[in-house]
Symmetry: C2
Subunit: 138 residues, 2 copies
């Protein structure tokens, strides 16, 4: 067993009208827009089969987050007691992986229009998975 | 924009009776046992607030997976047509992040008993998040 890390590589990037963390809703369903997932050419084949109407889970690397936070006030509201980050959906956490359940609106080559998505423009995408059924999944 | 990778560090490890990938069910609900999440001491504070009965999402690094696969036969069954890995839940994918929705059974210091969990003993844990509601989440 080791504590060594692993190298995670972007498989693509988010292209969104949201340009800063301050402009991003905290969750997709809180008024987020649709956004494009632009898949890198060398792994684009991995998206074969994804079609409009599919529900997918997008994992992102929240590159603007702080990795040294272990406790936060949920939703940035100091009225909420300090809570361990693993008990919150704060982007600030040791491995800032974002988890987004979205619907595929359109597929255009290696670009997927999905939504609603609260990620900031330029956010690296690290994985995409199909959602399983709503009751048992993720 | 860059294609450089990011360094992801385990926040803990799975302790399970499942000792090999061959013994692991493909999804937790397919007969997987409960297992312990052993959180590393330096980030254990991040789990403060997690309690028995909570539904959480555990993200793992599937260290036994192949990272060079872009197409697979879903569920390893050659009767299923080759499909892009991002349209499957195969562990084999460029960034082998596992996504597991589980219930917390017990909290013992920095160890959490959760289940059902299909991950193999020794699998690195990279993040833990609370599940949101079943309809909108993840």
């Amino acid at each position: 067993m080791t504590n060594d890390g692993f190298d995670i590589k972007p498989i693509g990037f988010v292209r969104s009208t949201i340009k800063s963390r301050a402009d991003a809703p905290k969750q997709g369903r809180e008024g987020a827009p649709d956004a494009w997932l632009e898949i890198e050419a060398d792994v684009a084949e991995g998206a074969d089969g994804i079609a409009p109407g599919d529900e997918i889970i997008v994992l992102t690397w929240l590159h603007l987050a702080r990795r040294d936070e272990l406790k936060v006030h949920p939703r940035g509201d100091t009225a909420n007691a300090l809570t361990g980050v693993f008990d919150t959906r704060s982007p600030d956490r040791p491995n800032p992986i974002g988890l987004h359940r979205v619907v595929v609106r359109e597929v255009a080559g290696r670009r997927l229009l999905v939504g609603p998505l609260e990620a900031v423009d330029g956010t690296p995408i690290v994985d995409i998975k199909p959602a399983l059924d709503r009751l048992a999944d993720s």
